[in-house]
Amino acid sequence: SGQLYCSLPNPRNVHFESINMKNVLHWSAPESTGEGVLYKVKYSVYGVGKWIRKPECGNINRTWCDLSNETSDYEEQYYASVKAFLNGMCSEWVETTRFNPLTDTRIDPPIVSVSSTEKSISIILTAPEKWKRSPEEESVSLCQVYPGLQYNVSVLNKQTKKRWWFSISNNTLVVPRLEPGTVYCVSAQIHVTTPLLLSGFSKEHCIATLKDK
């Protein structure tokens, strides 16, 4: 009767990878199964009774599935699960740990823009946006999601190699009393204190202060 035998080895390392709340389920193929393995994916909201199949990730041969849409409410927590199929055999369902989009996401570095005068540089920082379903959807900045979001800013005098550090809550910073005609390089990182989240540092943005008139 086409009964499936669940003796296939299980998918491994089933976990969410999340960046700016773009939540993608990843896993590794079962051990020693070679080509041709297909997968099914389901997910559930923690505390709610039912598992929900993800049709777009039914009978797929890739080892990831984008569940951003299904896990976009970051006031809820989630589980996801994967099952493998090969030649009429199947594996068990293998679950993730409980996924909390708010605390388990990683945040990209901020976007840095810099301008200068003779003796100062002005820095504007922009936090990344939360993942959204479509470009038309309203953008939500991560600083709206994390009210305690701060920026760590590094300013380096390229000549003297002297470096300043600043930690700011708003997104603009003016660094005064600099040397005219000198190159300064700026890099910034996002820091959320609780839950503790730390982005990488942005690429360095270098700019020269204007020369003395």
Binding site: G47, T97, N100, T103, T193, T194, P195, L196
Partner: protein, 152 residues
Amino acid sequence: TAGNRTFHFGPCRVSISMTEIRSGFTAIKANIQARDPIRTLSILSYPHSLHKGKSLDRCCITHHLFNFYVDKVFKHCKTEDHYINRKISSIANSFLSTKKSLQQCHEQNRCLCGQESTEKYNQILANYEGLDVTSAAMKSLGELDILLDWLE
């Protein structure tokens, strides 16, 4: 101390060591949640997430929940892992000091409870009592981030 955060619940002001509690929970989260096999029930979020209660009295719910965790959760969460147990007692101590501040607010009528908040807390107790004590306590501890996320 560093990492303390002051919360203003109307006239009631309390300091909560959020950074310490959060880091303690992060250290035990996988271990504790793995001990809770019940996906279909939540103590804090059933039937509705704390976030969905728009007119919940934040002071009242916070006061009730800090009492709940001190009186009904931490003491029932002994594990065979000393490291986990130490983390749990550190979180419990942080809760204890905040509980006392909230108790003062309550006694001075600065932490009142409306009907929705009372109903929500009764639902939480019903969810808790629907399981055996150890399972309910372990599940509640695994949901600590739900409370922390709501607080913040």
